[in-house]
Symmetry: C2
Subunit: 114 residues, 2 copies
């Protein structure tokens, strides 16, 4: 019943980067990132979300939506996601949990060559 914490963690691991690497590139402290990924943060500021969105190459609006901020075009159907829109369209609507799982699998695949 936590939240988007796992999502951020899955995102990072799918990229195979460390907390400190994210810190270096975004300016967000590894301490905070850790709390973020373990669900100890309620609503990270838009500023922080923006940095993460850029680093992870996901939609800023989507992150805003995920943490519960109101978004301009508040449709019931989320607009864009980490797993490419194309994939999403082919897969049809997927749930949050499914997305996390896909990301974890992505990580597995990417790590298979090393």
């Amino acid at each position: 019943m936590d939240g988007y914490g796992q999502y951020f963690k899955a995102l990072r691991e799918s990229k195979g980067v460390t907390l400190r690497e994210v810190e270096r590139q975004t300016g967000v402290s590894n301490a905070y990132l850790s709390q973020l990924e373990s669900g100890k943060v309620k609503q990270p500021s838009p500023n922080t979300l923006y940095k993460l969105a850029q680093f992870y190459q996901v939609s800023y609006e989507m992150l805003m939506e995920k943490v519960g901020y109101p978004v301009p075009k508040s449709s019931t159907v989320p607009k864009d996601h980490s797993v490419s829109s194309a994939a999403k369209n082919k897969l049809g609507g997927i749930s949050h949990e499914e997305e996390v799982e896909l990301l974890q699998y992505l990580k597995f695949i990417r790590n298979r060559m090393s």
Copy 2:
């Protein structure tokens, strides 16, 4: 180098409502609203901005931009404003200060009949 405080105050006064009336209709405390209008608040949360945007009938994105949050379509030209877009287009680009002034004049006009 104050901020958007005056803008919110001008907005409210142009509508001729009290702090407590805004509180009643938005759920944002009059205490906080007062601080907001006197520049004692740095970055009100998107949640709060959204409530105010709805009440004042201005663009939520525009408010986000005004308080310094990153916005999806970060163009150098602000998208929409309190004074109708149409008016804006006719007037051409207007500055923040000009906008506040226009709102104050709006207030004057509206209050002339009472």
